[in-house]
């Protein structure tokens, strides 16, 4: 079952004299429990795609539905309501509130949903154990490492059991060890909790952790790769190869 469905979406910026089309008639489907990566060069529109898919930004044309609900028909307030119940976010800059402790940061989404304190604590214990951050629960963001921050951010995305999680360059600011650590955890959680993940990245290694990689070029889907029965290593080489083709500039002479 497709949990997210985008049909013919367009996104344009600027006025009518200086129009810039960032997304052009893009179609995308994400199945329940799927881990999808979106790759592409800088300026290919991948972050814009993530923003519109996650309802932070609105499309100019086309429809997006998550769990059968159409974004276009929702008001801002309803969208916020929808986000708090169904979506989780992980960002490159962690986006943790630095005046809150790790635990307080993670529990934030639950406080929006007005979950009881007991349940909240239970949920925290589970997710903190899964991501290995239980021992830093009472530390402030400035006291912990980048990898720990990103795991905190991931924990915050998972804690309210959203149907889909959007990750924007989650490994962008991490060293390779912390990055693969995080990605392992993410794919674990993806399997265990059956939560779909849509991740934007330009790191082929990060992309190789997912089940499917969508390549975007100039606002359109260029190609897709499925992991299938391949090992991660084989898939990684496929991704690199495709990226090489994608990055090449054709001279039309």
């Amino acid at each position: 079952m497709a949990i997210l469905e985008a049909i013919k979406i367009y996104k344009t910026y600027g006025n009518k004299f200086n129009k810039q089309e960032v997304l052009r008639a893009l179609d995308l489907q994400v199945q329940e429990g799927e881990f999808v990566s979106i790759m592409g060069a800088s300026g290919s529109g991948k972050t814009t795609l993530l923003n519109v898919l996650s309802s932070i930004d609105r499309v100019s044309q086309g429809t997006i539905t998550i769990e059968g609900q159409n974004f276009n028909q929702m008001k801002d307030k309803q969208l916020a309501e929808f986000r708090k119940h169904h979506l989780g976010f992980i960002f490159q800059e962690y986006n943790l509130l630095d005046t809150l402790t790790v635990k307080e940061n993670i529990l934030l989404p639950l406080s929006i949903k007005k979950v009881s304190k007991k349940e909240a604590n239970k949920a925290f214990d589970t997710v903190a154990a899964e991501l290995g951050i239980a021992d830093i629960a009472n530390k402030y963001p400035y006291e912990i490492s980048g990898g720990q921050k990103q795991r905190t951010s991931a924990a915050r995305a998972f804690i309210h059991e959203p149907s889909i999680i959007f990750a924007d360059e989650p490994t962008g600011a991490l060293d390779s060890k912390a990055a693969s650590d995080l990605l392992n955890k993410l794919s674990d959680l993806n399997a265990k909790r059956n939560a779909s993940i849509v991740m934007v990245t330009h790191d082929p290694l990060a992309a190789s952790f997912s089940q499917r990689v969508v390549f975007i070029k100039d606002g359109q889907i260029y190609t897709q790769l499925n992991k299938g029965e391949q090992t991660r290593d084989e898939f990684f080489h496929d991704v690199i190869k495709t990226q090489g083709v994608l990055g090449g500039i054709k001279y039309e002479h």
């Binding site: 916020a80 005046t99 989404p109 909240a120 604590n121």
Partner: protein, 655 residues
């Protein structure tokens, strides 16, 4: 683009961003100019009356300069920091520091000239209103006309030019000190980073509250009989020091300590209001503790002074009535026959066809032993009252001269009760006293103090008057101790039957030359005089208080503008997580309630205890005037809180 264009564009852009700064500038100029205009206006001579009045105005204008310049320097400091990125950019594209300084100077100069013009215009228009208010409170009857005073204009220009030079000097130093790199980072290093709560801080927090409470406790004991003379002064200093230090520690530690406890209680499960208010304020207050202490202390001072002056204004009439029981008091002394007798006045009144009644009281200064009726401080304190209670003198009158009072032969009742005196020398409810003449001495039972004004306070210096049975009085009078000096032997009070004639009688009183003599008092003239002095004081204090209120409100507002910029990313995160604008706004309202409310409440508390400790020197009524002052202050102050919420609202809307 030429430099002139850059200046022009900057100016245009800054107008929009810094309208509050502009407002502050215009406001400062208007305030100062209005004040100085009043000072130079010839019509003020009557209101100021004495040299004291004009000296007070002068002192007020100096205070105003201090407030305004500190405020403007502070505001400028905040704004140049906000513009550091722009300055860095200019430097990056190759402008020299000198050129940048020139750009800033010209820009500021234009802002300055513009706001000077507007401010002077506004100041001139409100000064008439101010004068009307001043005339109203001082009771001067005069038409409030205004002449544009060149002196005032020159003085205003000089003062603000000096402030401008000062500000430019500061900007110059700021630019000189910065490298390109540092300029880009200034806003992030300016604020203290988030830090963990340490046990030392908790200790500071507890100490802070402890010091404040200790100060309050001392202040409530200040004018009880526990402290005398020099000790009083030391105690006052102790109170001041412990409250101010306590306030500082309160912001440094207590606020975060309390908030931290609240947070702990929540066990990590915070809702959006907690996130925006508790966690943010916890860290912010700590880094702003010095500024907040200054603001709080000065607010407390302003509210306290305003309350005290309003208390004395409010109770001017009642105080005069307590102090002077009759419309006109004419004491008479056998020894100084030069002084005019009451008949001189009554004759003049008869001639003018004014009905009146007189009240005659014979006075006797007699030796007395009060040892058994005065509450003395504990022996351990070892402090003796400033006079010898066993052998002192007091004024004695017979009960025939006091209406509504009948004293038994063996009893004595004290009248002319005065609260201030009672604080210093508290009397027991009952006891034995001994009145003594030259040979005889009479033991009497003290039956307490009564709220009766028998003779003017002026005649006894605030000490109570003993009322005895007429027969006892006769005995004492016939056995007068010649060694005891007695200024007045008789007192005549003249009461005008109809209120409308009091003013006319007062004219006669001063025309016949009676008012010149010591202790010859007219209640009407005293009230007017009191209102003039106190009204003037109240006006100046009120003016300064207003200036201070608005400047401190602006400073807190600017701080909030700064903070909102720092916290913008947090709001973005929260919005992405699914909090609505309404949720955020709710949190921000609470945050501003704390941000503006905590300094206000602490300031109000400080001034409450300060006023409570010594208000009785100023008047007879505390609660109503103080409450009025506090309400007005709170109302004006909360305008700034509301403005800052609106500012945040606009910012969140843009997310």
């Amino acid at each position: 683009m030429s430099i002139n264009q850059i200046i022009y564009r900057n100016l245009k852009k800054n107008m929009k961003n810094y309208y509050v700064y502009l407002f502050a500038l215009v406001f400062s100029v208007a305030l100062y100019f209005a004040f100085v205009t009043l000072q130079y206006d010839p019509a003020m001579d009557e209101a100021t009356g004495t040299v004291k009045g004009s000296a007070a105005l002068k002192a007020g204008s100096v205070m105003l300069i201090v407030i305004v310049s500190v405020f403007l320097l502070y505001a400028n400091n905040l704004f140049i920091k906000r513009r550091s990125k722009e300055i860095g950019l200019f430097q990056l594209v190759g402008m020299t520091k000198g050129t940048i300084f020139r750009v800033l100077s010209v820009e500021n100069l234009m802002l300055y000239i513009g706001s000077l013009l507007i401010g002077i215009f506004l100041g001139f228009s409100v000064s008439r209103l101010l004068m009307l208010i001043l005339f109203k409170v001082t009771g001067v009857e005069d038409v409030a006309t205004l002449n544009f005073s060149t002196e005032a204009l020159v003085q205003t220009l000089v003062v603000f030019s000096a402030i401008y030079v000062l500000i430019m000097l500061m900007n110059y130093i700021f630019i000189r000190r910065q490298s390109i790199l540092a300029l880009f980072h200034v806003s992030s290093t300016a604020e203290q980073r988030v830090k963990k709560m340490t046990p030392f801080q908790m200790l500071l927090g507890i100490l802070g509250i402890g010091l404040i409470v200790f100060g309050y406790y001392l202040s409530s004991r200040l004018f009880s009989s526990d402290f005398f003379g020099n000790q009083l002064f030391i105690v006052m200093l102790t109170i001041l020091a412990s409250v101010i230090l306590g306030t500082y520690l309160f912001y440094k530690g207590s606020v975060s300590f309390i908030f931290n406890m609240v947070r702990k209680q929540k066990g990590g499960y915070l809702n959006v209001s907690d996130v925006l208010s508790l966690s943010s304020i916890m860290f912010r207050m700590r880094s702003n503790s010095f500024l907040l202490t200054v603001i709080t202390t000065l607010s407390a001072l302003a509210i306290g002074l305003l309350s005290l002056s309003y208390i004395s204004y409010y109770s001017a009439e009642k105080t005069a009535k307590d102090n002077i029981p009759d419309d006109f008091s004419i004491p008479y002394s056998e020894n100084t026959s030069k002084a005019p007798a009451p008949e001189q006045f009554t004759k003049a009144l008869n001639e003018a066809n004014i009905d009146f009644t007189t009240r005659h009281v014979d006075l006797l200064e007699s030796g007395v032993d009060l040892w058994n009726v005065i509450e003395l401080p504990d022996e351990e304190g070892g402090i003796e009252p400033a006079f010898d209670a066993r052998n002192t003198t007091m004024t004695v009158i017979g009960d025939d001269d006091v209406a509504d009072l009948d004293v038994q032969k063996t009893d004595v009742i004290f009248v002319n009760r005065m609260k201030t005196m009672e604080r210093l020398i508290p009397f027991k409810e009952q006891g034995q006293i001994t009145l003594s003449g030259e040979q005889t001495s009479i033991d009497l039972t003290f039956k307490g103090l009564k709220d009766i004004a028998a003779i003017p306070l002026r005649l006894t210096g605030g000490f109570p008057v003993a009322v005895v049975d007429q027969s006892v009085y006769e005995v004492l009078a016939s056995d007068k101790d010649p060694e005891i000096e007695q200024e007045f032997t008789e007192y005549t009070g003249v009461n005008i039957s109809s209120n409308s004639n009091v003013e006319k009688a007062d004219e006669i009183f001063s025309k016949t030359g009676l008012s010149k003599w010591a202790a010859y008092e007219s209640r009407h003239a005293t009230i007017i005089n009191q209102k003039l002095n106190v009204g003037m004081m109240m006006f100046i204090v009120g003016f300064l208080g207003l200036a201070f209120l608005i400047t401190s409100g602006c400073i807190l507002y600017f701080k909030q503008m700064d903070e909102s910029e720092d916290e913008e990313p947090s709001y973005t995160i929260l919005r992405k997580l699914g909090f609505t604008e309404g949720d955020l706004l709710k949190g921000i309202r609470r945050k501003q309630l704390f941000n503006f409310g905590i300094p206000l409440v602490v300031g109000l508390l400080h001034s409450y205890f300060a006023v409570k400790s010594g208000w009785f020197f100023f008047g007879t009524e505390m609660v109503t005037p103080m409450a009025i002052v506090m309400l007005i202050y709170t109302g004006l102050y909360s305008i700034f809180g509301t403005l800052s919420v609106l500012y945040y609202k606009r910012m969140i809307k843009m997310r």
